[in-house]
Amino acid sequence: MKNNSRRGFMGMAFGAVAGIGAVGSLYAMKKSWDPLPSVKAAGFTTLDMNDYKENELVTEKWRGKPIFVLKLNSKMLEKVKDKKSDMDRLIEISGSHYMVTIGLCTHLGCIPGYRPAEENFLCACHGGMYDLSGDVTKAPPPRGLDIPPFKIDGTKLVLGEEGPEYKAMKENGITL
């Protein structure tokens, strides 16, 4: 009996040590899989918005992801104006309207192609479609193209920083 309780105590003592060790190592293992600080630090891109031409899609790169930048002409703007929520998706810089979105389909992350003649986006993977403001018009994508965090700085746009315009979009549920 005395032996048994001693053995029981040793078992519990070992269990406690092993338990702490197991939790500790799981935490270390989880943290080791996290993105590295260098990866996180390289997460800013600055765009000069004077460089873009109307109805010409330019793909920039931010955090390894493609960023669609499309400057809208007045005819295209009329098209977007039909839907109020679509207007809110555009970014206005010194009088011009831009669609700036992450160029990955919100379905499973393929890159949709821009069709300048039809003035819309088509994702070749599963047939999803988006309009000029990046809003979804045909499933399977569950929502419009995501808008990257941005801050307007004169005629420049800084991606990766959250400016007041971006925060407003987030609050209104325009983007995630």
């Binding site: 993105p35 990866v39 390894g64 992801k65 499973l108 890159i111 070749a124 399977p140 569950p142």
Partner: protein
């Protein structure tokens, strides 16, 4: 302490220390196999041989492959394919075996389903087998990342995105799995680790479990007959080899087993030497480019059926259907409510169920390869619904089944 005597031979020396005679009996000459089986019972050995081919070819590829985003593509397509003597052989053996192993796994699985080899004490064989299927799927996917071509990159992107869980938007989880915002260096190195160490370790452990699960219930036979292995093996050992319903694993069964393996290897090396291209997607001969999606992303043929179950639905429904398809086979022993362990041909409605399931999975596979448009989209949608419907019907039709 055990008593050792002066060895009379080398064999005796080992026998005293390692009981090799006994091990040989337990594993080979007195491991009993029913006589009433056919060539489909050789698929296990075919799989063992294929796994060995993957392991050996993998070891040679590992000596020149570089898990680095700037050099991975060239280390495969230039160094291994052009510089290393016979490098092409290892790559083509590895690529073809990775594809063919799934063909054999599917044959092995459907053989088990047809003959009811997942019932009456054989549940753990089935479950460990399905876990092996999952492990092989992880192995195939992680290996597909390594050449770092366009299909590697975009398959990696799409599959890791599944972990965001649709509307759950678990983007943090996806970034954690990748170690970056997109598949990049951290992603390649960790999938390299998974492919060459962690997943193969799991596979080897599961193979041990799969074999171990066979020992008590033994291998099933063509009639699902319940054999008294003790009685039949005694009969065999007493000299009544013709009357006994069982035979030795080695060399009785092994002789025919290896005959099938021989035929298989001729077919296998025919593919390696003359048709290796079926396992090499042309799109993957373009280096990975995060700013350009291939026009049409599809997985290798063995994942097409489950991909097609994901595709026709909206994101969330698709994910649920996909998850359902991934796990449902594991539960087969419990969803089949019938007491009969006989071939499907003698089980009434289950016979129809079996062939319907097989045909449905072939249709899903074919549709998964085609662009999701027009009539193919509709056929795929119907086939996906049929797949789910068949599994819902299974407990009902097997419950109705009469005892044979």
């Amino acid at each position: 302490m055990a008593h050792f005597t002066k060895a009379t031979s080398v064999k005796d020396w080992f026998n005293q220390r390692l009981a090799i005679d006994k091990v040989e009996k337990v594993m080979m000459s007195e491991y009993w196999i029913p006589k009433n089986i056919n060539f489909l019972w050789a698929m296990g050995m075919v799989l063992v041989i294929t796994f060995a081919l993957l392991l050996v070819s993998g070891i040679f590829l590992l000596m020149y492959y570089q898990p680095n985003v700037t050099t991975a593509f060239d280390s495969v397509n230039y160094t291994i394919m052009r510089e290393v003597d016979f490098g092409w052989l290892w790559r083509h053996v590895h690529g073809v075996a990775a594809s063919v192993v799934f063909l054999i796994i599917y044959i092995h699985m459907f053989t088990g389903i047809y003959y009811g080899s997942y019932k009456k004490g054989r549940e753990m064989i089935w479950i460990s087998g399905m876990l092996l299927f999952v492990a092989f799927s992880a192995e195939a996917f992680s290996g597909y990342m390594l050449p770092w071509g366009q299909m590697s990159y975009w398959a990696g992107m799409v599959i890791t995105n599944l972990f965001a869980g649709g509307s759950l938007h678990a983007d943090g989880l996806v970034e954690w799995i990748r170690g970056d915002y997109v598949p990049a260096q951290a992603f390649l190195t960790r999938f390299f680790m998974l492919h060459v160490l962690l997943v193969p370790l799991a596979i080897m452990g599961l193979i041990g479990l799969h074999f171990g699960a066979l020992r008590i219930p033994h291998v099933n036979n063509q009639d699902g007959e319940e054999i008294d292995f003790d009685e039949e093996s005694t009969k065999y050992l007493a000299g009544d080899k013709a009357g006994a319903k069982v035979m030795r694993f080695a060399n009785d069964f092994m002789a025919k087993d290896m005959m099938v393996v021989g035929v298989y290897l001729v077919f296998f090396f025919y593919l390696v030497f003359f048709h290796f291209d079926f396992a090499m997607d042309p799109v993957n001969f373009d280096p990975a480019n995060g700013l350009k999606t291939p026009a049409h992303i599809y997985p290798e043929w063995y994942f097409l059926w489950s991909y097609e179950i994901l595709r026709p639905f909206s994101t969330d429904t698709g994910l649920i259907a996909f998850a359902f398809a991934q796990v449902i086979f594991v539960f087969l022993p419990f969803l089949d409510r019938s007491p009969n362990t006989v071939p499907a041909s003698r089980r009434g409605l289950f016979k129809i169920w079996f062939w319907a399931m097989l045909v449905d999975m072939i249709v899903l596979t074919a549709m998964g390869k085609l662009p999701p448009a027009g009539i193919f989209s509709t056929i795929g949608f119907v086939a996906a619904l049929t797949f789910i419907g068949l599994w819902i019907l299974l407990p009902i039709i097997t419950k109705m089944e009469r005892k044979v």
